[in-house]
Symmetry: C2
């Protein structure tokens, strides 16, 4: 399975898990992103995607400023 783990990435480069095993990622037009994982968990958050490393199953988020 090719789901990804989604992490917060802070300004010091530290990461913390936001949601694991994510399948669907759907940004809206208002700066929020909807996530759904393979277990059916859903989260929506005001964030932007900082970087994705799909081969390593990683997506990094940062809080949306302003």
């Amino acid at each position: 399975m090719c789901e990804a783990n989604v992490y917060w990435l802070d300004e010091d480069g530290k990461t913390s898990l936001f949601l694991d095993a994510v399948d669907k990622v759907i940004p809206d037009d208002n700066g929020k992103i909807f996530f759904e994982n393979i277990y059916g968990e859903r989260k929506t958050v005001a964030a932007r995607i900082k970087r994705m490393e799909l081969v390593d199953h990683k997506i990094f988020l940062e809080p949306r400023k302003g």
Copy 2:
């Protein structure tokens, strides 16, 4: 391998391949997104991510408006 194929998604729901086997996706602060695939091909484009379906290895883009 868990790379994804990246497609343009037009307003009629039609898709066309933009870049296959993408590993890294890095949005910048100016509305552009950098992509690098597992073959080392790199593309940068003015776009926004419309939707990702990672289990199906698919990322859909739309052109960035304005």
